[in-house]
């Protein structure tokens, strides 16, 4: 029997699907190639005629503008546009990292709450998801920034929170231990989180005492809290803090968190959590009812059932769409432009594109950054899927 893609004898080659396919592809490539060629040609002509510089020569030119949040050293007078790029990239990553952690916590809580037997809990969670998912993120960000954070008192009338923390419409100001600069705090934080994750990884698989969720969380928590304290003591326990104080114009000293940052993280977390909640709900519901029944028949308690039976199976369904949500959160952080938070898009396609007058290079570069985020994530996901895929029998 002739398979459909093999030409039957006597059929002319131009009616043969195989040759037709090749011809179509050649035609398509030629057409697209021509389009791309003429577009690039036109762009080059247009750029040449308007005497716009091209290339990345601007990378080493002094930037000259100030940035409100810099995690690495940056000074308007000596730092280059390249440095500004890294500042923006780091600002984006910080928002994304913090947003992902918080949105996961909130999203899982709400996702579980949507399946709760308690009427009020279930209704509240459903109401949250419906409300948040149906209002544009940009509007929510503007609301948090312009309507909520700006409604906080001015710096002169700051809320004074315990521990010398000040809260006003200029941001959140916390005492800063004098021994550490930003990088040290960041490094300690990173090491702590890494250790806690490692601990969980090592111990999470064992079924005995260490594997019990209670024991595990107590130890994780103690690593998270304990390690910074140990570091603090080892460094010499300098009980001196740089307390923020109200100056003539501003709050002086202390560790400052910008209201733009707070609004952005808040908006992204609240928005993304609603989507994560749906992902989690779908994942939990994908575990057949019989699994729970069987677990109970074996005498497992409800937390044990969740921890040992339901969650491990649900995770397989949850992880892929969850990573998608993480990527969405990262991409959505570009809405920072609307509320003046200096992320990559705001610094780069906003200020730098305008100062250098080279929008093409800058937009392409910005897109490449986000594309590489996606690429790395899909690689990691493929790796994960390969390891955790159900083994078909």
């Amino acid at each position: 029997m002739a398979r459909p893609w093999e030409s039957a004898p006597g059929v002319p080659f131009y009616r043969d699907p195989k040759y037709r396919g090749i011809a179509l592809q050649i035609g398509l490539c030629a057409a697209l190639g021509y389009l791309a060629y003429s577009a690039i040609q036109t762009a080059a002509e247009n750029l040449a005629r308007s005497h716009v510089a091209s290339g990345f020569g601007f990378w080493n030119v002094v930037a000259g503008f100030d940035i409100s949040q810099t995690l690495i050293d940056y000074s308007p007078q000596s730092s280059t546009y390249g440095r500004a790029f890294w500042v923006g990239l780091l600002n984006t990553l910080v928002v994304a990292a913090l947003g992902i952690v918080l949105a996961t916590i909130l999203g899982f809580t709400i996702g579980v709450a949507r399946l709760s037997k308690n009427f009020l809990v279930e209704r509240l969670a459903t109401g949250y998801v419906e409300l948040i998912r149906n209002v544009p993120l940009l509007l929510q960000l503007l609301f948090w920034y312009n309507a909520v954070l700006n409604a906080l008192p001015g710096f002169a009338a700051s809320f004074v929170l315990p521990g010398g923390i000040l809260l006003n419409n200029r941001g959140l100001f916390m005492p800063r231990p004098l021994f550490a600069d930003g990088t040290q705090i960041l490094a300690t934080f990173a090491v702590t989180v890494l250790l806690a994750a490692l601990f969980n990884k090592v111990v999470g698989r064992s079924a005995g005492f260490w594997g019990a969720i209670g024991v595990r969380s107590v130890f994780t928590l103690s690593i998270l809290v304990g390690l910074p304290i140990v570091v603090f003591v080892v460094v010499g326990a300098p009980f001196a803090f740089d307390y923020p104080e109200i100056g003539r114009f501003n709050v002086k000293g202390g560790f400052e968190i910008l209201p733009e940052f707070v609004a952005l993280v808040l908006g992204l977390v609240i928005y993304t959590a609603a989507f994560i909640a749906e992902v989690v709900r779908a994942g939990l519901r994908s575990v057949p009812r019989g699994q729970t029944d069987a677990a109970q028949a074996l005498g497992l308690t409800r937390p044990q059932t969740l921890q040992l039976i339901v969650i491990p199976q649900a995770m397989r369904v949850i992880i892929p769409p969850l990573t998608n949500q993480y990527l969405n959160l990262t991409k959505n952080s570009s809405l920072a432009v609307a509320i003046g938070y200096p992320d990559l898009v705001q610094i780069f396609t906003g200020t730098v594109a305008n100062q250098t007058n080279q929008p093409v290079e800058i937009v392409v570069l910005t897109m490449l950054v986000y594309l590489s985020f996606s690429l790395v994530t899909s690689l990691v996901m493929n790796f994960y899927n390969a390891r955790h895929a159900l083994v078909e029998r």
Binding site: N46, R49, H51, S68, P76, Q77, Q346, T351, A353, Q355
Partner: protein, 337 residues
Amino acid sequence: MKRIAQALFAAAVAFVVSGAADAATLDTVKQRGILNCGANGQLPGFGLPDSQGNWTGLDVDFCRAVAAAIFNDATKVKFIPLTAANRFAALQTGDVDVLARNTTWTLSRDAQGLNPTGINYYDGQGFIIRKALKVNSALELNDAAICVQQGTTTELNLADYFRTNRMRLKTVTFATLDEALKAYETSRCDAFTTDASGLYSTRLKLAKADDHVVLPEIISKEPLGPFVRQGDDQWFDIVKWVHFAMLNAEELNVNKANVDEQLKSENPEIRRLLGAENNFGEQLGLTKDWVYRIVKLVGNYGEAFDRNVGQGSPLKITRGLNALWTKGGIQYAPPVR
């Protein structure tokens, strides 16, 4: 049926192709029948549409003058509101024929494929601050948080000024002037900075304008003027000379009210200006009566100034540097001859 289909197609094409950035801008503009002018859209006195979409402002009047010179009709202008961040791209991609959006003439802009055609407003950067803070000088602003619009020379000058005076600065940057101003008004920042002219006009947008004061320091030179694309000398000349024509008209006391009488004047300078003698307009590619059209339909520079930013406007800015050179200012136009 076929005709309707053709007309629909034409409408679709007209929707898609709204302008052309050909080398001969004058021909394109004439063919299109309308001048595309990049304007501010948020700045009272320079470029702002009202709720009916009627534009007013000094820069707006400049574009009207260009349209008057070309079409003998000052209404044949389409104003396209641009932000600081997208204005140059709009000019370079041919979206607008003239960029009249209180734009500062700097070397890098001149070199980067843009041509400033003149200076229609000599400005400098200043600060506005709440009266309650009792600040008398910009030099007292150490540690202040300052709201500024992104992608402007203002953003750069601000950093320079604080550095020069060894003061610490907290910049809060926003994409548009309105956002920056709104943030200042809700006291996100202590002060707001932009060109001094902009300070006077944005002050009108504050709910309680009297609670705010403009500081005396001017920290930079901000010569504002219209820009055109590089590479079309004829168009560059036309836009350049529209400004000079308006200045010369003021200098020769030719205004909207008396322009018809002045046409009969014996003064050779006026006769040359209004086209009663020689054909200077034609040398530019326009008509002989190009200046007559400008003055008749829009007015001279002084009239445009008074109406939009001067004593005849809510801004009440004095002429200062923008007075004619004969009256103590530095507005000086080469002669028409």
